[in-house]
Assembly symmetry: C2
Homo-oligomer: 338 residues x 2
């Protein structure tokens, strides 16, 4: 029997779902002081995570998140068939040094801030396809390593535009299992790149919103669903600016998600009091919000099912300085109660 249905233009429905057996999140202090502070497994006081450089800090953040996941669960690294992970740094250097000591076969992924969606999609396909009994999906970002990579080193003390988002220092890791868990992934809609020509690297919400709209529209069309089928449709890090654009773009397609849309970038900080501009961003934003508030709400039966749609802005400092636009991409993952 074929365990999977190929649906519509781009989606998959898993008859045999991938279960989420456990999850872990580690964040920095600013995230710990935010509205979700009490929900993370660990709020690390040292922004360097014990390292000597910002890149090492993000590696140690990933390493600590994996350690937390293994500690919370009965899993050992040797139980994990494949790990799917990524970060925002050039050549995924945070993931390389964060994961290497665990000796797990590794698929390195880059989807900008959509990476948690990409890693969950591939890790759950691997389970649903019978390719593994246990996999891990993980993504991280760090405020200081991201600012240094994409904008300016913190030491410059640059002023920030109000539409700019604040890269989350955080990491989330999900353990997937073929047999049982506290939630399940029952389908995915991998996204394509969408470019509306936005060139503002400090207005990521505007760059990513068209891709989020495209993936959500494709998903609802492929599965023939109304938006209110989901308790929440959860984007990664559009922030306030991107949220407005997303809701308006979908309204033009006669879809209204205003009642049940949630954005991890808006949830993770108290923007008015924490000075975080348009909201949180980075792969770590959606990854750490998933591995705290979102999965807890599904585990505790607050939500029956959500559409988790991490969103990424595809740029690098060179493409940006060479005048290229910033396309977006978003991958949707259906997460349901068991």
């Amino acid at each position: 029997m074929n365990q999977t249905q190929i649906i519509g233009k781009a989606s998959l429905s898993f008859n045999k779902p991938a279960y989420i057996s456990n999850y872990a999140s580690v964040v920095g202090q600013l995230e710990g002081q935010g509205p979700l502070g009490k929900l993370f497994d660990c709020v690390e006081k040292d922004p360097m995570f014990g390292g000597t450089t910002w890149e090492e800090a993000e590696s140690f953040l990933q390493n600590q998140t994996l350690r937390t996941l293994f500690k919370k669960s009965s899993l050992k690294p040797t139980d994990i068939r494949y790990i799917f992970a990524g970060d925002l740094l050039g050549q995924l250097i945070a993931s390389t040094f964060g994961i290497i000591n665990y000796n797990m076969p590794f698929f390195g992924l880059y989807g900008a801030c959509s990476t948690m969606g990409e890693s969950l999609a591939l890790a759950s396909m691997t389970i649903a396809g019978g390719f593994a009994d246990k996999t891990i999906a993980m993504a991280s970002s760090h405020f200081a390593s991201a600012e240094k990579t994409f904008r300016f080193p913190l030491g410059y003390g640059c002023q920030r535009k109000q539409c700019a988002t604040w890269t989350v220092t955080g990491c989330g890791a999900v353990a997937l299992d073929s047999k049982e868990g506290i939630a399940k992934i029952t389908g995915i809609t991998p996204g394509k790149m969408v470019d509306f020509g936005v060139k503002e690297s400090d207005n990521m919400g505007a760059c990513m919103a068209p891709a989020a709209a495209d993936t959500i529209l494709t998903h609802l069309t492929d599965f023939n669903l109304n938006a209110n089928y989901y308790d929440k449709i959860i984007t990664g890090d559009l922030g306030y600016v991107g949220q407005t654009i997303l809701i308006n773009l979908l309204k033009q397609n006669k879809i209204d998600i205003s009642a049940n849309h949630m954005d991890c970038g808006i949830e993770i900080f108290d923007n008015a009091n924490q000075g975080t501009g348009s909201g949180g961003s980075g792969c770590g934003c959606s990854a750490s919000t998933l591995c705290s508030m979102i999965l807890k709400n599904i585990e505790n039966k607050v939500w029956k099912r959500v559409l988790f749609v991490p969103t990424g802005a595809l740029l690098n400092p060179i493409s940006f300085n060479e005048g290229k636009s910033i396309p977006g991409i978003a991958h949707a993952v259906v997460i349901e109660e068991v």
Copy 2:
């Protein structure tokens, strides 16, 4: 019936294989003048590929390779369910702008020069798992964009060490199909990262050889095979220095691949006369050699089966300058005649 067997520590054997229906390669002029010159679909005379920057050049190279693949086959972009691709540049910027106009759902991958192995592994799992009828796996590199990223801009005119490899300007794309093709992928062994502590960014062969040895050893152990089961065991870009280390490392494990080992980096250039140091490198090296000589030899029944093992060195300019070592990774793909 489960279509796949989970084998040993890290491998998969596909009872229902993923067929290679078509393939395309585009390379630069130096590669065109090398021993494989006549086997590539296109040798582009303009190193800028019609672009105005080196990054754009590599995007246009990817775009041209996809165009060639669609032209050679009866495929249209809308036939392709998912594309798995990557390159060496920070944040995969060559793939982003190379692929975006084709509007295909996109999984961005980074495995350094092992990316063609990673993309083939995931694209063939997607077919073997019944998640798609048609996928594409692709990887590229460009000499000038890579030198600028990892070492020095060409304009500096730096001298090169003899152990240094020469990044191939090339791209290879493989179309995978659930039903028929000219070759088939019947199994994979995804690799884990291996670090022997080498810190020389101009001696990539030494950085990658331990990972290649680990993946080949895992593969042969998982499947309980002798090395001579394969007509060729083909690494990506170890070059002469890395080849020697690989053969010696495996001999320490009582495996002798000296008779049937081949390295794409050694094949693609006439090193003695082309001044390419220890050999070719870059994701485009194994990708373009696969999509010319290797697949032609399988199609033409010269070889019955090969183990294709692209090898990657995991560094970026920041990690290197911060004194980090350069771990390697290698993913093995079994390619057989139909």
